[in-house]
Amino acid sequence: MIDLIILIALLALGYGFGQYAEKKHYTSIRKRELILRSVPVVASKIPPQGKPNYDSQLVSGSVVISVDYFKRFVAGLRGLFGGRITSYETLLDRARREAILRVKREAKDLGAEIVFNIKLETASIHKGRGNGIGSVEVLAYGTALIPN
């Protein structure tokens, strides 16, 4: 009985704080995406030719985000029936956008015009802990071209 109460309490806490944190994070992501729109990030490998006056520098941004208890519970249920796990989709979406924003922030602070060859790397850092993914790390890196 006590176990059940603890479980329900954890689910309620996870739902409340999780939803709040996600909403807040999305608001802040959208706001910063608007501000940093001036620094485009592209996946192209070939830098512009015939414009030799650029300095290039590696920029990177990373973030570790954890999913809340409620979502992990729901995802566990999904594992029984199959189908889309929306709770993890938003987790990864937030992590990627945040990592890219950090790359843009760093590039903008360096005075860069554009970031080339962006690579995204995802690692689950909860491997081997029994309960599958709980938190993911997303690393984004690319080459910033700084006009000199």
């Binding site: 290039s56 520098q57 208890y69 938190s135």
Partner: protein, 104 residues
């Protein structure tokens, strides 16, 4: 030292290739951070402690790669890649590698 994950640097020509340089670092997280992370696993949100930890160890891997590049006498590292792998529960290896070259 120019470090880039492009294969060519605009306006520069590669004079000498030295081949692969690499650096890695294996880190485990400490207990205090683990407890905080355990709490965050209930509430959700960014685990700042882990973000910093991984950034520090990635920086170390990166510095080791640069040391190797300097040791062979390169002035640039091109086509840099990062990778992460978990070796054991609670420990991760951060790995950075690239091609050391002399640019002119």
């Amino acid at each position: 030292m120019i470090v880039s994950n492009l294969e060519i640097i605009p306006g520069k020509r590669i004079k000498t290739h030295f081949g692969l340089v690499q650096g890695s670092s294996v880190r485990a997280k400490h207990v205090g951070r683990d407890i905080m992370a355990g709490l965050k696993n209930i509430f959700g949100g960014e685990l700042r402690g882990y973000t910093e930890l991984l950034q520090e160890s990635r920086q170390e891997a990166y510095d080791r790669m640069l040391d190797q590049a300097k040791a062979v006498g390169a002035n640039a590292v091109l086509n840099v890649r990062f990778s992460t792998s978990s070796v054991a529960a609670g420990a991760a290896e951060l790995f950075a590698y690239g091609t050391a070259v002399i640019l002119e």
